[in-house]
């Protein structure tokens, strides 16, 4: 061990330098991608607005003006009002808080379960791997869309269940990605070298596997958030997701669709908010994928 230890600092140093330049490279490439940068800025803006909504919103969430009723966009109400005279901009801002929260929290749940599961399966390998991935395969084959609808019907429509249900669907792909990353990394010469040098599994995972698997995980996470937000909006549209008095973009779209003939702005503005966010996330995710060279680097 003593003889080997001398090689460790050098190995560490070189690795750290490579890591840093990889990320710097990726950052340079990402900065050149205008769509991805635009997506990132828009997203940041939406997040800030969502966080500061109680202070930024022009009207209070409960404020109604039944005398006014539904009115088109005006100076007092930039995005118009709904049939109860509620300010649409305020509704969209509060709805965005819920939609974004669902997106980020459910994705975090999926990330945590998926990465842990995949890393263990991929690293331990053998029979453990086979059993763990068989479980993923079986769950993968379950028609979750239908199951989520069923869950929301059976256990009532609460937000916590929504997070869990969506998170439970999305971790499967994350686990598969992480496993395949870990598995292919394990066969790389530098990991074999590390193993033969006597590094502990924990050290190998920390120093070699995680930094190398981070790219695909970041990319996939960025792309999971929009699909989670879509799922929430889909359920809310059917009346099975977010329930009043809370609101979300999906719910606002569903209300808007009912009265779109007379009051199209009730459909268009929440729709625009959701679409813009999904756009930003997807462009950012694609940009990150190209910048981190997730696909190409393996071959």
């Amino acid at each position: 061990m003593t003889t080997l230890q001398s090689s460790e600092p050098a190995d560490l140093l070189e690795n750290a330098e490579m890591g840093a330049s990889l990320w710097r490279d990726a950052w340079q490439r990402l900065r050149k991608n205008k769509m991805a940068v635009g997506g990132g800025i828009t997203l940041l803006l939406f997040i800030v607005i969502a966080l500061l909504t109680p202070w930024l919103a022009p009207y209070s969430y409960e404020a109604q003006n039944l005398d006014l009723g539904a009115s088109p966009p005006s100076a007092a109400h930039w995005l118009g009002t709904d049939v109860f005279g509620r300010d649409v901009l305020t509704q969209v801002m509060y709805g965005g808080r819920v939609s974004l929260a669902v997106g980020f929290i459910a994705t975090a749940v999926a990330l945590l379960i998926g990465v842990t599961w995949g890393a263990i399966a991929g690293y331990v390998g053998g029979r453990v791997d086979a059993v763990m991935m068989r479980i993923v395969d079986i769950l993968y084959a379950l028609p979750f869309m239908i199951f989520i609808v069923l869950l929301m019907v059976v256990f009532g429509r609460n937000v916590l269940l929504l997070f869990l249900a969506i998170g439970a669907v999305e971790w499967l792909t994350m686990a598969r990605i992480m496993r395949s990353q870990v598995q292919s990394l394990r066969q790389q010469e530098f990991v074999e070298a590390a193993i033969s040098l006597g590094l502990s599994p924990a050290a190998i995972i920390r120093r070699h596997v995680i930094p190398n698997a981070l790219g695909p995980i970041i990319v996939y996470t960025t792309l999971t958030i929009p699909s989670v937000m879509l799922l929430e909006a889909f359920l809310s549209f059917l009346g099975l997701g977010i329930q009043p008095p809370q609101t979300s973009w999906g719910l606002l779209i569903s209300y808007g669709a009912e009265t779109m003939e007379e009051y199209p702005w009730l459909l268009i503005f929440p729709g625009l908010a959701l679409t813009t966010t999904l756009f930003s996330l997807n462009f950012l995710g694609d940009g990150l994928r190209d910048a981190l060279d997730v696909r190409g680097s393996k071959d």
Binding site: R134, D137, I138, A141, L142, P143, M145, I146, F147, V149, L150, L151, V153, V154, F155, G156, P226, L230, A233, F234, F237, L238, G239, L240, G250, I253, S254, G256, A257, M260, E261, P264, L267, G271, L274, T275, L278, F279, N282, F283, R295
Partner: protein, 312 residues
């Protein structure tokens, strides 16, 4: 190959069994019985009804009775529509949803593959950017937003197309099919572009070009087959997505299909209907996944030789 199919089949059976069991107990665990809404029902009538639907038996006996019925293809009577069986309701909705899904898939494949292949042939040019930007719009525009917007523009403002129904007015199938298919066209376009790009950078494509084959032959004979494998593999999950999408599209356009029945059954707490539909749809999805997996494996020569070589 046969071994692969058999092993995938064996894998599918426990999945279907888990679906049946989980759905059965989930639905039975739901608060509120199906006859709770009708408050005027006399106790003895309620008891008679419960006996008729076997709700008075212990849970495990209900479960085995259900499995026995299921084995004979019998999904039981509907709670909500007395006198109609779940089988009848399902089979009245199935052709509608199947037709809707078929058109949507057709739109998705034709538009998606064309756009994706064109984009892959000249990456990072206008021929790539324009279809891919459109694909991005398709992905970010959920069906429940696209549907109402299409209705608003083509149905209400322009008055070109009917805004609801299925098969009663000419042209009323167009908007629902586009609404359902658009997102999948976008996914297919992206997948076929990525798949083609990967294949086009392979050595055997370079060989084909080097031996002087014209470009269209390189693409159609050598690249397409491999480049479209991701699309074939995507068809399984897409099928599940199309079914779920039909919930929304059939609700928007008031189409009497499976998706709408499912959502209605969910709201009505129609136990047997939910149970029957879930089991039926799940089985369909599992089978479709199986078929698309086998097809993708068949098309992939590397995987195929590995499989017929009697590997694992």
């Amino acid at each position: 190959m046969l071994r692969f199919i058999i092993s995938r089949l064996l894998q599918a059976i426990p999945v279907i069994f888990i679906v049946i069991t989980a759905t059965f107990f989930l639905v039975r665990a739901a608060p509120g019985g199906p006859f709770d809404a009708e408050k005027v029902v006399l106790p003895e009538v309620k008891r008679a009804l419960e006996a008729q639907y076997k709700l008075d038996l212990p849970l495990y006996e209900q479960y085995f009775a259900y499995l026995t019925d299921l084995a004979q293809g019998e999904l039981g009577p509907s709670f909500k529509y007395p006198g109609r069986s779940v089988n009848e309701i399902l089979f009245s909705g199935l052709p509608v949803t199947a037709e809707l899904g078929f058109y949507a898939l057709l739109i998705a494949l034709i538009i998606g593959v064309t756009a994706g292949v064109l984009a892959s042939l000249k990456p990072n040019t206008r021929q790539d950017y324009i279809p891919m930007s459109l694909a991005m719009i398709g992905i970010c525009m959920p069906s429940f937003l696209l549907g109402p917007l299409l209705v608003l523009v083509f149905g209400i403002y322009l008055e070109w197309l009917p805004i609801s129904g299925w098969g009663s007015i000419p042209g009323d199938k167009i908007l629902p099919s586009i609404t359902l298919g658009a997102a999948y066209a976008a996914y297919v376009a992206r997948l076929s572009r990525a798949g083609m790009l990967e294949i086009l950078s392979q050595d055997y494509i370079r060989t084909a070009r080097a031996k002087g084959l014209p470009e269209w032959q390189v693409v159609s004979k050598h690249a397409l087959r491999g480049g479209l494998i991701p699309v074939i593999a995507f068809l399984g999950p897409a099928f599940a997505g199309l079914l779920a999408g039909s919930f929304v599209v059939e609700t928007i356009f008031q189409i009497p299909g499976l998706g709408r029945f499912y959502v209605q059954a969910a709201f009505n707490r129609d136990y047997t209907m939910i149970l029957g539909t879930t089991v039926f749809l799940s089985t369909l999805i599992v089978l479709f996944n199986l078929i698309s997996d086998v097809a993708a494996a068949w098309l992939n020569p590397r995987l195929r030789s590995q499989l017929s070589g009697g590997g694992k």
